[in-house]
């Protein structure tokens, strides 16, 4: 019997480490007869810790939200062939996986990322072998072109085109760089691949390197991903030892090696020229394009940069053919896309679906709908560079073109779901606060424009909005987009513009009536205790600032001068006696 514990960052955060250690103890001490393995994130982060138990025939049974205290008991029961359904995954959750099409993350949560053999078992490095032994550089690029693969990092630029440009450059050496500086708040697709299937990335990079003629690869990974770095490190060593990296790979004469560069955690370093600057030890600041990295990149040499998910698709495409990939998706957006579902959603986590699936389907069909069954309000697509899509157009499909039309972007695949209690002005403020902090400071429009936009939003949410602020935001947003050099500044105003586009009335309510329709902006709301208060004292006990007074069994009262509007009383009241107005 084999027991596989999901040890991605999400699993570890949910307590999977304890699950694993308990079992490990049992194996060591009592000689329990099981193979204990680890794996990465299968995508159902809300169900972690997840344990898959395989019987000797290889049939798998999945257990979720497994507690560390109970794991030994569970496994013992399984060994004794006793049935226990306490932790078994529900059929609904299983179905949710079934609705996905897994290409980039096909191995995630399945194989042990620290064991090359398991990757090999899943046809690992076959694609590389095929390229090196059967395909010319041009063949590889043609295959990628046929697949329609576009960059999964955000901009959606055709991958073959970049490869082809880098291949055409005469100047050597060339560099193959992987952008693993996943910085969008709420996005963790790349991390899951790095943690769950690192060889997949290495293989993808090696194929790309072969195609463009690079001998050196660099993975620029955020330093905040220690587990990813550790597993990548292990994978690189294994690949070298087994001859998948290094000199004369598979005896074909192709040389390629990869090193890891831990980034310093600046969001803008996800921009490829800033990433190159950072790689060179300079301040992470975007440079002018042209010259494009394909012409003059790292140390002035031809350089190709793709993101993790893009590379992860490559071996699959080579193995199964570009046409197979292109069979999924829409006319312009081929294949699948991994999304990170977060926010007010029941089943947050990673999903990989064919392009062209309606947002509604992802949220309800896979994500299980809105948390606490509240009203679905909007979804923020593409992180701080993206835009919000309101519920009334949630039949918009996820492909580059459709999302663009409604003012959002695919981005790296972050989907933050919002319900009725989210203030859209405040949401725009949140994302702008992020981007303005992450602005590198180079362009005037971005450095100062995002700051001034933020200040306007701050005064709106705090009830000091002025007439004309919306128009000022709109005009400044357009100028910031127009005047900024890199994607950060060009897209930073998107959350503001899209929320104004769809929720202008909320802005107007803040400014004109000094009201927050979502009842979320502290400065604009008051908590009041109504007559149905039974005087239980819960609110009084939980108030952190002692703003609530009242004798037991009598109606309590909130002193508005002291109240900090934390909402604790509202949360704890069991009688709905506290209202927000």
């Amino acid at each position: 019997m084999k027991v596989v514990v999901g040890l991605g960052s999400c699993g570890i955060a949910a307590g999977a480490r304890k699950v694993y250690e308990e079992l490990e103890n049992q194996v060591n001490k009592l000689g329990m007869d099981i193979d204990l393995e680890i794996t990465g994130c299968v995508g159902m982060c809300h169900l972690e810790p997840i344990v898959d138990i395989y019987d000797d025939e290889g049939r798998m049974e999945r257990f979720v939200k497994v507690s560390g205290d109970k794991i030994v008991e569970l496994v013992e029961k399984k060994l004794a062939n006793e049935d226990d359904s306490t932790y078994r995954i529900s059929s609904v959750d299983e179905e949710a996986i079934g609705k996905q099409v897994r290409i980039a993350i096909e191995n995630c949560g399945i194989i042990n990322p620290e064991r090359l053999e398991e990757y090999i078992e899943k046809d690992g490095y076959k694609a590389l072998e095929k390229c090196l032994k059967e395909m010319s550089q041009k063949d590889v690029i043609d295959e990628i072109r046929d697949s329609g693969l576009r960059g999964r990092g955000g901009a959606g630029f055709p991958t073959w085109f970049k490869w082809n440009a880098a291949m055409q450059e005469k100047n050597t050496p060339k560099f193959m760089v992987c952008n693993a500086d996943e910085g969008d708040p709420g996005a963790f697709m790349d991390r899951s691949i790095l943690e769950g299937d690192p060889h997949r990335l290495l293989e993808g990079m090696a194929i790309g390197a072969y195609a463009i003629g690079a001998e050196e690869g660099i993975i620029y990974v955020r330093a905040e991903y220690p587990l990813a770095i550790k597993r990548l490190d292990i994978a690189i060593k294994q690949a070298r030892e087994s001859g998948y990296l290094g000199k004369n790979i598979m005896g074909t004469g192709f040389n390629f090696d990869i090193r890891i560069k831990a980034g310093a955690g600046a969001f803008v370093c996800g921009e490829e020229t800033a990433l190159i600057a950072s790689l060179e030890g300079e301040r992470g600041m975007p440079r002018l394009k042209p010259p494009f990295p394909a012409q003059k990149g790292y140390w002035g040499q031809p350089t190709n940069i793709n993101n993790v998910e893009t590379f992860a698709n490559v071996p699959w495409i080579i193995r199964k053919g570009g046409d197979a990939f292109a069979a999924y998706g829409t006319a312009q957006s081929k294949g699948t896309k991994v999304f990170a579902l977060t926010g007010k959603i029941k089943k947050g986590g990673l999903v990989e679906v064919p392009m062209g699936m309606p947002i509604k389907e992802i949220i309800y069909g896979i994500g299980g709908g809105i948390l606490n069954d509240k009203e679905f309000k909007a979804v923020q697509m593409g992180g701080p560079s993206g835009g919000c899509i309101p519920a009334f157009i949630s039949d918009t499909t996820v492909d580059y073109e459709s999302l663009g039309k409604v003012g959002a972007i695919m981005g790296s695949g972050g989907m933050v779901v919002m319900d009725e209690s989210t203030c859209m002005v405040d949401m725009a403020r949140f994302f702008l606060d992020f981007t303005r902090k992450e602005s590198c400071g180079k362009c005037i429009h971005c450095r100062l424009g995002t700051k001034r936009m933020l200040e306007i939003l701050e005064r709106i949410v705090s009830g000091d909005g002025r007439e004309g602020d919306i128009e000022l935001l709109e005009s400044l947003a357009v100028e910031v987009k127009d005047g900024s050099l890199c994607g950060l500044g060009q897209t930073a105003p998107n959350p503001v513009l899209s929320t104004i586009r769809y929720f202008r009335n909320e802005y107007e309510a803040h400014i004109n009536e000094k009201k927050c329709p979502a009842k979320a902006c502290k400065s604009l709301i008051t908590y009041e205790i109504q007559d149905n208060c039974i005087g239980c004292g819960m609110c009084k006990r939980n108030c952190p600032v002692e703003a609530i007074t009242g004798e037991p069994k009598l109606i309590h009262e909130i002193d508005q001068d002291i109240c900090i509007k934390c909402g604790k009383c509202y949360e704890v009241c069991k009688f709905d006696a506290i209202t927000i107005s």
């Binding site: 600046a266 301040r283 600041m285 002018l288 042209p290 303005r436 902090k437 992450e438 602005s439 590198c440 400071g441 180079k442 362009c443 005037i444 429009h445 450095r447 100062l448 424009g449 995002t450 700051k451 001034r452 200040e455 000022l472 400044l476 100028e479 127009d482 005047g483 900024s484 050099l485």
Partner: protein
């Protein structure tokens, strides 16, 4: 390069493929604004100012970074483009802290540059100060005396103690000018043929006339009174503003060609229609000559008079009855003038009746104080109710007592009557001084305001009648102070000029950034220095006469007071791109008000002042420091809104690797990095620019020397310069100010009987020098005298000194102690570089053998750096470290002998066949038969030979002449001479070391030294050299010509003051044989140019005539130095041999047979660093050393 065709703003233009849109636009004189762009560094593209729209491209493109392509249709000025630029500017300004203009200037209704002229006064540049005032204000002597100076009310020095005495300083400067023989009169414009009539000869009318004359128009002033001056003359009493002062300033306006027509009241004697029919435009500035009525019963009685009428009558000595008791109603300056005049006219009791208290009085404090001193009695909180008649005249005033109530709209507490409290005073004369009004009979065609003034557009000064403009007291809000009328006049003239050209351009007040957050806290480190007191007559001395009360500042007091200025206004205002663009794009940054950075900065660098509050983060300073100078002294830190430029590692700038080259200062587009001016009082002024040559090393960098009067303001690089491409080193940038007037020698010094040096006249100094040298020659023979001259002197100066020595002292003993004799000349024929600097950048291999290039010849070193960036291999052989070592393939620090160079020569001899054009090859080769080169020598020789284009660079004053000869041998044998990008660059110590050699100052200095030591040389005349010789006392006579009293000068018998390069016109020759012109930026401060000193001495020794001008000397040089033939015909820089090739020895070496003289060398040293004889250079080196 292929030509491409594009269309910019509808105009078809051509460019080359590979050029950016910006390049092509600029080549075609199409202006695109930039902030972060500078040719000297790589493209950055941060500011977004240069954006343009290109047809078919949805995005705005940064023209600095976008390569133009054939067929592009570009628009540089669409609404979208302008809006983007404007937003960028507004965003920048929303976090920009500073004062574009100081508060004093902003407060002045005439926008006079108070900080400018106060600063110029502090620097004792009085005439420049006066000229600056007169750009806005033509009557400073008058206005300085009477202005209630809003400038001083705004002066921030009050946050320390008291404001600067701005008004007094104004009249101080004006009085100096009026007392001079050469009273300033501005240059008049070309006659335009337009005729302008001015109605009213007061400050407004006179000012309008002044500026209209400057514009070249014909001007006539019609004035109702017998004299010009208006209220200045008839409304202000003599004791404050003497008529003689008015006369003098009025006379200037007349002298400028203004026609004065007095005793004509337009509207009465002359109809306005006459002016309309006979003039192209009219400016009305008739003032407000009617006293505002008191509106009391009894007002029409005899013995009641308006304040203005009273003052006018007093001035023109019109008969009126004063009596013994005079009551003046009102609390303003007119009331003060009236009461004090009444005192002077003999009134025994003079009352001022004012309805509020002293604190609310609008009159100036000093006026109130002086009135009290003169016995005027102030009755506060009284309001006249009635003037009571007795005997047909005013005899009593009935007064209502008042108390202060609520504040009114002006913030002053409103006086309210106290019920029933009444008082009576006895009077003989009541003067109502509560305000003034205009009398506008005859001006009926002009639209009026409710106040009864002429209604004009406040920005264009246009009345409702075309061609008629008006300003001053007679318009809109009515009576105000004189400087407001003057300001109106200046602005209106601008509008009138545009009107006369066919399109009215209204005045627009410039947009400025102001600091409003300052409190006395900010100045708590300032020492309290109260203002200078104005000397004045005592009350007893003044109260019975009309003598001017104030005596005026002494020079000492004036300068002291001016030095107190806090220098609020930004020094960059005249060149700040942000300021200029902000005004061009009509910004409204207020809409982006929000958080602002206030950052304190270290201010300790001796030459560079940083102010990050003004930084626009264009990154130019950081980039120029890194990319051009290979120095990381500055860097960008923090992110987003908080991004800031800081010195490396949070150190003070001077503690980083900063070499004070000032490149950051030159590229900064705003006032965030500026030079620390080396004048006494730092002051922002517009300067005159003289293009000249740096006086330090022999690279010959071009500098733009900025001056104001005879004050050297600063030296800035010249971007057009082919020598330095707009880059200077610390010496060129900050070492310019050797002409510091105060410490320099001004007069000759002569050793007196007591053994001390004492002041002497020029005549005495010159005669003593010439005659003593002559008598020594006659006594001991011509070999007993010698002349030495510094290589910082111009070719002309060297020429005349040599002529003096040879022809008038008959001696061949003409030397320079700063020169190294021998060297490459012996091999090649000339003591000169064979190649030019620009070739360095494209050589494949460079051997620097003995030159601390970054330290001593920085700008030449940058060419080596460029070469390395272009792929050249570099080897440096040096004693000690220089930054140039960092760029090398190998830097070698050999023992101080010739083995390394010999080794290289040996390898070259072995590998290369005998060249055709040499002598002595065999002997040389034989002498090296047994020499064993070391590995380093072999490597260098191989690199040298492998590269087709290889160059050798060395510093003449760092190597022995033996070493130099070896280098010449190497180059000749290897065939690396006489072809482009091959050859030897021989760096020399001073700006004209090459010229000195060319002019044949080649008596080896050691022979002179030997002569002095042995006593055969008795007399020595030294031009500009500080020679640390121990046995100078052996001389019978030593004369020194220098800027300062140098150690050598202190031992001399006569010291003659020299002038600096900034005071010298002539030519100098740099290390690549480029002859460049220097020009006098300021007149010789000692009265004698350097050449004139020699000229005089030649005349003393019998030359029949003097050289008349420097050009004659240039012509003489052209005739006597073959390589300099026709030099005088060239105004631009030129290489020698003139008419020859820029590279030497293309046809053969400088010997008759064209063959090089290969010379074998003995054992010896390689390095021999010589100490400069230039005192200034040595002194400046000490300053630089401290950074």
């Amino acid at each position: 390069m292929s030509v491409i065709h594009l269309n910019i703003n509808g105009k078809e233009v051509k460019g080359n493929a590979g050029q950016t849109i910006l390049d092509i636009a600029r080549d075609n004189k199409i202006d695109i604004p930039t902030m972060c762009f500078d040719e000297r560094v790589e493209i950055y593209g941060s500011c977004g100012m240069c954006v343009v729209e290109v047809e078919g491209v949805p995005k705005l493109l940064r023209s600095c970074a976008t390569m133009a392509s054939d067929g592009m249709i570009i628009n540089t000025n669409t609404e979208r483009v302008k809006s983007s630029r404007k937003t960028a500017l507004e965003l920048l300004l929303s976090d920009h802290v500073g004062d574009c203009r100081p508060p004093c200037v902003l407060a002045c209704p005439g926008y006079t540059d108070c900080q400018g002229y106060v600063g110029l006064a502090a620097n004792m540049e009085y005439r420049e100060g006066l000229k600056l005032i007169k750009e806005q204000l033509p009557l400073p002597a008058c206005i300085g005396r009477v202005c209630p100076h809003p400038c001083e009310d705004a002066c921030r020095r009050q946050l320390v103690e008291e404001p600067i005495s701005i008004a007094y300083l104004k009249s101080f400067l004006a009085d100096i000018d009026l007392a001079s023989d050469d009273v300033f009169i501005p240059e008049l414009g070309e006659p335009t043929g337009k005729k302008i009539a001015i109605v009213g000869g007061g400050p407004g009318g006179l000012s309008a006339a002044y500026f209209l004359r400057v514009a070249g128009h014909e001007v006539t002033i019609y004035e109702q009174m017998p004299e010009m001056g208006g209220m200045l003359r008839y409304g202000i009493p003599e004791y404050r503003l003497p008529g003689s002062v008015i006369d003098q300033e009025v006379a200037i306006v007349e002298k400028m060609g203004t026609r004065f027509v007095n005793n004509v009241k337009v509207g009465e004697q002359l109809d306005l229609s006459y002016i309309q029919n006979n003039f192209d435009a009219c400016y009305i500035s008739v003032g407000a000559w009617k006293s505002t009525p008191l509106r009391l019963e009894g007002e029409d009685l005899p013995g009641v008079i308006g304040g203005i009428d009273f003052l006018r009558k007093a001035t023109v000595n019109e008969d009126m009855r004063i009596g013994e008791r005079v009551a003046v109603v009102g609390g303003g300056n007119t009331a003060m003038d009236a009461c004090r005049t009444a005192v002077r006219l003999g009134a025994k009791e003079v009352y001022v009746l004012y309805r509020r208290t002293e604190a609310e009085m609008p009159a100036e404090l000093i006026e109130i104080k002086e009135a009290k001193e003169e016995g005027v009695q102030f009755k506060f909180l009284v309001s006249p109710l009635e003037i009571i008649e007795e005997n047909g005249r005013a005899a009593k005033v009935k007064l209502q007592k008042m108390e202060l109530g609520e504040e009114d709209a002006s913030g002053r507490r409103r006086p309210v009557p106290i019920e029933g409290e009444i008082e009576y005073i006895d009077v003989d004369l009541v003067i109502g001084a509560i305000g003034q009004q205009s009398a506008l009979e005859g001006f009926e065609i002009l639209e009026k305001t409710k106040r009864g003034t002429i209604a004009v557009d406040e920005n264009s000064y246009q009345t409702n009648v075309e061609g008629i403009f008006a300003g001053g007291d007679v318009i809109n809000e009515g009576a105000n102070i004189a400087i407001k009328a003057i300001g109106d006049a200046k602005r209106a003239v601008g509008v009138i000029n545009s009107y006369l050209e066919g399109h009215v351009i209204p005045y627009r007040r410039p947009y400025v950034v102001e600091r409003t957050h300052l409190t006395s806290e900010h100045y708590s480190d300032r020492k309290k220095e109260y203002r200078s007191t104005m000397p004045h007559l005592s009350p007893e001395e003044r109260k019975n006469n009309f003598r001017e009360v104030n005596k005026g500042f002494s020079e000492e007091d004036a300068v002291k007071d001016a030095m107190r200025c806090l220098e609020c206004g930004c020094h960059d205002v005249f060149e700040c791109k942000l300021y200029n663009y902000a005004n061009e794009y009509d910004v409204e940054p207020e809409k982006f008000d929000g958080e602002v950075h206030y950052r304190e900065e270290d201010d300790s660098h001796p030459f560079i002042v940083r102010n990050t509050d003004k930084c626009v983060l264009c990154g130019l300073c950081v980039r120029v420091c890194d990319q051009v100078m290979d120095n990381g002294a500055l860097g960008l830190v923090e992110r987003g809104f908080d991004t800031i430029v800081k010195p490396a590692l949070d150190l003070k700038l001077a503690e980083t690797g900063c070499i004070a080259c000032g490149q950051c200062v030159s590229v900064c587009p705003v006032g965030a990095i500026q030079e620390r001016l080396q004048i006494d009082k730092s002051v922002p002024v517009e300067t005159e620019i003289t293009k000249t040559i740096c006086s330090f090393c022999s690279v010959g960098c071009n500098i733009d020397l900025e001056t104001s009067g005879d004050m050297l303001y600063r030296a800035i690089p010249d971007k057009e310069s082919d020598v330095d491409k707009g880059l200077l080193c610390v010496k060129g940038r900050f070492g310019y100010d050797q002409a510091k007037q105060k410490t320099r020698l001004a007069k000759p010094l002569v050793r007196r009987e007591n053994g001390e040096l004492g002041n002497a006249s020029w005549d005495e100094g010159l005669r003593m020098t010439a005659k003593t040298m002559q008598s020594l020659k006659l006594q001991y023979g011509p070999e007993a005298v010698a002349v030495a001259i510094s290589d910082r002197y111009t070719n002309e100066e060297i020429f005349i000194a040599k002529e003096f020595a040879q022809k008038f002292l008959g001696t061949e003993n003409v030397t320079s102690f700063n020169r190294n004799y021998g060297g490459i000349e012996e091999v090649l024929g000339y003591d000169a570089s064979t190649s030019t600097f620009n070739e360095i950048e494209h050589a494949e291999f460079i051997l620097v053998a003995g030159a601390h290039m970054m330290k001593d010849h920085t700008i030449a070193a940058l060419k080596v750096k460029k070469a390395v960036e272009n792929g050249a291999r570099l080897v440096v052989v040096n004693e000690g470290y220089d930054q140039i070592n960092d760029w090398t393939e190998a830097s070698i620090c050999p023992d101080n002998n010739l083995d390394l160079l010999k080794g290289i020569l040996k390898v070259v001899l072995d590998k290369v066949e005998e060249p055709r054009n040499v002598l002595g090859y065999k002997e040389l080769k034989d002498s090296f038969a047994d020499f064993k080169p070391r590995n380093a020598a072999i490597d260098i020789a191989e690199m040298y030979l492998e590269s087709k284009t290889s160059m050798i660079i060395f510093d003449e004053n760092m190597l022995t002449s033996e070493a130099a000869k070896l280098l010449a041998n190497i180059a000749v044998v290897a065939g690396r001479v006489g072809k482009p990008r091959r050859g030897i660059i021989q760096l020399k110590p001073k700006n004209n070391s090459q010229g000195l050699a060319d002019l044949g100052i080649n008596k080896p200095s050691n022979e002179i030294i030997k002569g002095i030591e042995e006593g055969t040389i008795k007399g020595l005349l030294v031009f500009g050299e500080d020679i640390p010789l121990e046995y100078l006392e052996n001389l019978e006579f030593l004369a020194v010509h220098d800027l300062y009293l140098t150690p050598t000068g202190e031992r001399a018998d006569v010291v003659l003051p020299a002038v600096s390069y900034a005071e010298s016109t002539g030519s100098v020759t740099n290390s690549e044989r480029r002859i460049q012109r220097t020009y006098t930026a300021i007149p010789p401060l000692t009265g004698y140019s350097n050449w004139e000193v020699v000229n005089e001495m030649m005349y003393i020794l019998g030359r029949t005539s003097r050289y008349k001008k420097i050009e004659e000397l240039t012509e003489q040089i052209s005739k006597s130095v073959p390589e300099y033939t026709d030099l005088f015909k060239f105004k631009e820089a030129t290489y020698w041999p003139i008419y020859g090739k820029e590279i030497l020895y293309t046809e053969g070496f400088a010997f008759d047979d064209g063959k090089a003289r290969l010379a074998s060398v003995e054992e010896g040293k390689m390095f021999d660093k010589r100490i400069s004889t230039d005192f200034v250079e040595k002194e400046f080196a000490k300053v630089v050393e401290e950074i």
